[in-house]
Amino acid sequence: MTSYAASLPTALPTATTVGNPTLNIAIFGVFVLITLAIVIRVSTQNKTAADYYAGGRAFSGRQNGIAIAGDYLSAASFLGIAGAIAVNGYDGFLYSIGFLVAWLVALLLVAELLRNVGKYTMADVLSFRLRQRPVRMAAAVSTLAVSFFYLLAQMAGAGGLVALLLGVSSVNGQRLVVALVGILMIVYVLVGGMKGTTYVQIIKATLLIIGAAIMTVLVLAKVGVNLSSLLGHAADASAKGDAVLSPGLQYGKTSTTKIDFISLSLALVLGTAGLPHVLMRFYTVPSAKEARRSGVWAIWLIGIFYLFTLVLGYGAAWLVGAKAINAAPGKANSAAPLLAYKLGGEVFLGIISGVAFATILAVVAGLTITASASLSHDVYNSVVKRGTATPAQEVKVARITAIVIGVVAIIGGIFALGQNIAFLVALAFAVAASANLPTILYSLFWRRFNTRGALWSIYGGLVSAVTLIAFSPVVSGKPKIDGKSASMFQNVDFHWFPLDNPGIISIPLGFFLGWLGTVTSRELNPAKYAEMEVRSLTGHGAEGAVQH
């Protein structure tokens, strides 16, 4: 995918030469112990399906906003964007803007209406006024695809990150770490449900934002809080000079890379509001008003965090230098940890490493619960049992599927170690924008919309995004540099789609197919639409908080 994610750490031959791995492991261990204790404590309240899937809907808007930030700010945001700015300058900053502006789509058009209509999953909203079984199945397929692409990228990233931060350099050691991450993730989800997962995300977001804030203050203190002189130092330290301060270094080369960047921007800005694990977070609050509060908190926290990464990226370019960053294991991803070492020595590096690791854990837990909820609530209950499963049966199935998903993620993560699969994050955003967002918006706002429209849009968006990626240069056919191609497969070339990012084709296609399917089908259910519209805007019949 993108420069930052393309450089997500893969299996590395050498361990980090800076810092103290034992200290890093100890700090990470403390995080795991504290979060496990909290997860076990809240688990006693996990009684009903609403507890397991939606944390009892008892979180406040502020708590949920922080948890959303914890869910959304993955390692790619922290390590990736700071690293991309450090190496490619301004172009790294461009990503963070897409990731942020996307939240306005979620806040204005989706969050509150979704909260009022749905119960546990994205499919609740999509299937509300359409034919239940086919639409739920389609929504579940797309939920699983998005969550799995995202999960795999995180798991593979964990292995590489560990090589960098904890000094685990052997392949088997990295496999063990991937397995450990997977097992911890399963434990959090099984024991804590959505409530436990939410607390893990809240703690992680708090640590991450405080850590980034401290680093930002330390960097700014060195330049007398003068952004202009920080930029000057960064430009002076770079071999590319002033070019790092303006766009174009990475994406300005050819017209293909330019169009590619526009395609990526489209997927980023429209993808967020279609990410199932983000949408599911809005069910953890008691009302649409609190959903709105969540969105507001999330936007402030995510925005402020990205402003920090701007300073950290240029700070790393200046204090560490692009050359040292590219020479380190993990390349651009090591920019933030190396900067932490430069600013505060071993202990600070240890803390930042622990935070980075906690980040992966919190994000994978959120993805696992989303995927397991969709499998049990949408596929098992609605499609297999035709809505007759009891909540207790549903939760039992959700727990079993969480284990299955965890095991699949561990196996997938082990196979993905050392593979260049970071494009999966971009693919997740592209599928979310092409398959999910059109259906969500049509469903909420277009009276005429019907089942065929939903199915064509979901499957069409999903299949076109995945197909275009499969035949794109990220999978095969990138030219070799130093004997290694940046594509996933080496020594073969079957690409015919010129862009790395499919969004510019697949997103309009998803919207078009949704329209075409709708107008070619006569199905129309005004009564159901009336019910959905009244519910979505008034909050009538919306699921309330669980009373304990």
Partner: protein
């Protein structure tokens, strides 16, 4: 009826009556009149920025003060506009949307 909605809250035939009421039409009209133009506005502003970043390197690289160039100012303005729209929407929805939605919900509670 499948698992998606609790039966106790089924609106049944009421839904279409409410949907065609003047109060509901007013609520929907206000909501859409705010969020649709606002969405068009921030998406247009975002893509203007993306297109400038991709096709107008010279313009974006133009330095204004010290090392601060137009590109950086425009980028930071994206943050400012996002924060501003967030706050404006929150205030607007709290003031305009919630009382109307609550009034309708209260009516519905009685009609059930």
């Amino acid at each position: 009826m499948s698992a998606h909605a609790p039966d106790r809250d089924d609106l049944g035939e009421h839904a279409e009556i409410i949907q065609s009421s003047a109060e509901f039409a007013d609520l929907r009209h206000r909501f859409r009149r705010f969020v649709f133009p606002m969405t068009a506005l921030f998406l247009a502003w975002y893509f203007l920025y993306v297109f400038l970043a991709v096709f107008a390197h010279g313009f974006m690289a133009h330095k204004l003060v010290g090392n601060i160039n137009i590109g950086l100012v425009f980028g930071l303005l994206q943050f400012v506009s996002t924060f501003a729209i967030t706050m404006v929407y929150r205030r607007w929805a709290d003031r305009e949307l919630d009382p109307r939605a609550e009034a309708l919900a209260a009516q519905l509670g009685g009609a059930r």
